[in-house]
Symmetry: none
Subunit: 415 residues, 2 copies
């Protein structure tokens, strides 16, 4: 099966956003055993979109669209495709009710154009949008499969992982499906991991072992075609053993979950509680942890002590520790240790973690951008302090520092 | 002039990398006044690449290629285009010397295929690669302009900003560049904003006014072609005035910055300090604010009181307020008010903001997912509490709640 991804949106052609949807969908289609031969971007223009559909249909069996399902005049995908196929647009009642109810419940006047988001092409299957209003659409017409997904990644991804992917699998029919397992690593860089696995990545044919790009994370995908999940598991398990022999210490999960979810999982399993004190990371660690559903059982809370005064007021770090000639300063191993210990006590938690450093853009206390100290304090033990020298811009330094902290915590918890 | 960007590389079709080159080139071409109508990605396959060239030539005046200039068997761009145009590939001697010298100086044996990187299409102009070995190529043939750039961004960008851009400008002659301004809005939904501006979006020809999609944000782009930046500013200012008459109260910036950056800016301008107390948002507000460079001058810090005990311990919210029969509970307007007031006092800040609610996936205290209270406490005034009924998944509810809080704070600060 040959597929083409068609992204619709003038903002892509103007370079205002980057087409991350194409990457996500290419990965998902590869997992389903579908070969993507082309990716196309076309603007919000009926004539050129129609042209792209014509070309796509002539060279591909499956066209996956993203974008152009919204309420505005610029959202043309359904109209143009329906016209091209000589089909009508019809109202999908459940989607229409959902839209009306949402506006009603918020007490906002609904602009008429919002109803457009409930339209589907006749003969097609509506695909539920669990995170937005525009209904998706799957259609088989004239020998070609058409899958219409919303443009915003936060709507497109859940639809592709839910109703959209399901529809597609049903249409692909009896094929030896591709089974994949994502291995997630922490504490090791992408190129370093690849170097250690290079001969497996290049030489291993079944299962295949390939790097799997995800922003800020390091992952490997192990894939095989098999007749059943258990047959696939068996083959994949053997390959994973080979990988573990080399880099097992960095492997934190055999499915696609973020490191913080695994940390929450281990805390829960060992019935322990966490608290955090953040300076340079400004709440990012708390934010990542609390974004894990159900984390309120394991994460008690924390402080973001962005100034010395707050470190003193909230955590009772002595001002002489933080300021003045000869003091260690806010960015120091001893301040990191104090912050972790004090927040642990304050919350009566089993673990207290802390971060203090220089995220940039300018140096601080005469200390360079990228220097970060983090500490892990456990009940009844002295705090463990670690030093990082990170590069990158402000956001990247913050993210890397938090992930390094989570990695050490994960190591402590799994042992 | 109609342009198309053709990225060549199977790794893009497999989703292993994201096509950031297309975004960069689209921006650069827009600055040169060139309209990009299509972006295409095709694999390292001679037949399909030739197909893409044929289609591109039929609909565009300029084809910009990235990728496929390297030394391997998979690097086909020059070969396929030369064949398509019935031209020969010739050696560019300075590039060849550079390649040979590099290997010689490193004392590495040069694999013969490296010489391929010095080939150009006859009749074309060689484009110097200042950060790599593969020479670029500019060519005018049969009424179409072809610009061949390397795939790796660290080679492609300098070439486009150097020899490639220069060659292109020489071919374009005297043209008016496009100037754009991004207007950012908060406190109003995308479709609602568009409805209020519909006649301007549809009818206004110069400058053009168009919606500009950004995740979690609402923006409008105003663009015009002009001979100078000041001429463009003059035209764009007039259009912005018309927009402000209708939706000025929601316009927070005339450049592409996030709402939190504008809040930090207004805090700085009025010399006021902020502290935060977060429950359901788990540190997201702190994280967004502290991601603004230099925010340590305005943001003192805050607490993430994820459990009732932490609300009690850190903020002295009475347990009788939070738990027990007839108590308002953690998710209530009075708890939000107390949290904002207490954290303001604790930090000795001018403003204290708080969020408490149910981000899901499950309800809490018998209160529904999406119910969020936020409060803004100002020194010397009673806290102001607001109620939100939000939909979406956990991350979306958190983000929307935080953005709504920032919007109200922005309103207070600008008045």
């Amino acid at each position: 099966m040959k597929a083409e991804i068609i992204a619709v949106g003038t903002e892509l052609l103007l370079g205002q956003i980057v087409n991350t949807n194409a990457q996500f969908l290419s990965q998902k289609l590869a997992e389903l055993g579908v070969d993507v031969y082309f990716q196309t971007v076309v603007g919000d223009n009926a004539q050129r979109l129609r042209q792209a559909i014509e070309i796509g249909r002539s060279r591909s069996d499956l066209l996956v669209f993203t974008g152009g399902l919204g309420p505005t005049q610029d959202d043309l995908t359904k109209d143009v495709l329906a016209d091209f196929l000589n089909c009508e647009l019809i109202i999908h009642e459940p989607s229409m009710s959902k839209i009306e109810q949402l506006f009603h419940s918020r007490g906002i006047h609904m602009v008429e154009s919002n109803r457009r988001q409930a339209l589907i092409i006749e003969g097609g299957e509506p695909l539920e949008n669990t995170t937005g209003l525009a209904v998706g659409n799957g259609l088989f017409a004239g020998g070609t499969l058409y899958l219409l997904l919303p443009g915003p990644p936060k709507e497109m991804k859940p639809m592709m992982e839910g109703a959209g992917g399901e529809w597609l699998r049903s249409k692909l029919g009896e094929r030896q499906p591709l089974y994949s397992r994502i291995l997630k690593f922490a504490g090791i860089g992408e190129s370093n991991l690849e170097a250690k696995l290079l001969d497996l990545i290049d030489g291993q044919v079944d299962p295949t072992i390939a790097p799997y790009a995800k922003e800020g994370e390091v992952a490997i995908r192990v894939s095989t075609k098999a007749n059943s999940a258990s047959e696939a598991d068996h083959k994949i398990d053997a390959a994973v053993e080979k990988i573990k022999e080399r880099v097992g210490e960095f492997l934190y999960a055999q499915n696609d979950i973020p490191l913080e979810a695994e940390v929450v999982h281990l805390l829960r399993a060992s019935r322990r509680k966490l608290a955090s004190a953040e300076s340079c990371s400004g709440g990012l660690l708390a934010e990542l942890i609390t974004n894990v559903p159900g984390s309120s059982g394991e994460y008690l809370g924390g402080v973001v002590t962005y100034t010395n005064m707050m470190k003193h007021r909230l955590l009772s770090v002595p001002m002489t520790q933080l300021e003045g000639e000869g003091s260690p300063g806010a960015v120091s191993d001893s301040t990191a240790a104090l912050m972790a210990e004090r927040v642990r006590e304050l919350a009566d938690a089993d673990f207290g973690v802390s971060l203090t450093g220089v995220a940039g853009p300018a140096e601080s206390e005469g200390k360079p951008v990228g220097l970060v100290y983090f500490a892990i304090a456990e009940r009844g033990k002295a705090a463990d302090v670690h030093t990082l020298h990170l590069s990158g811009d402000r956001s990247i330094i913050r993210l890397r520092a938090v992930k390094a902290t989570l990695y050490r915590l994960w190591q402590r918890l799994k042992d």
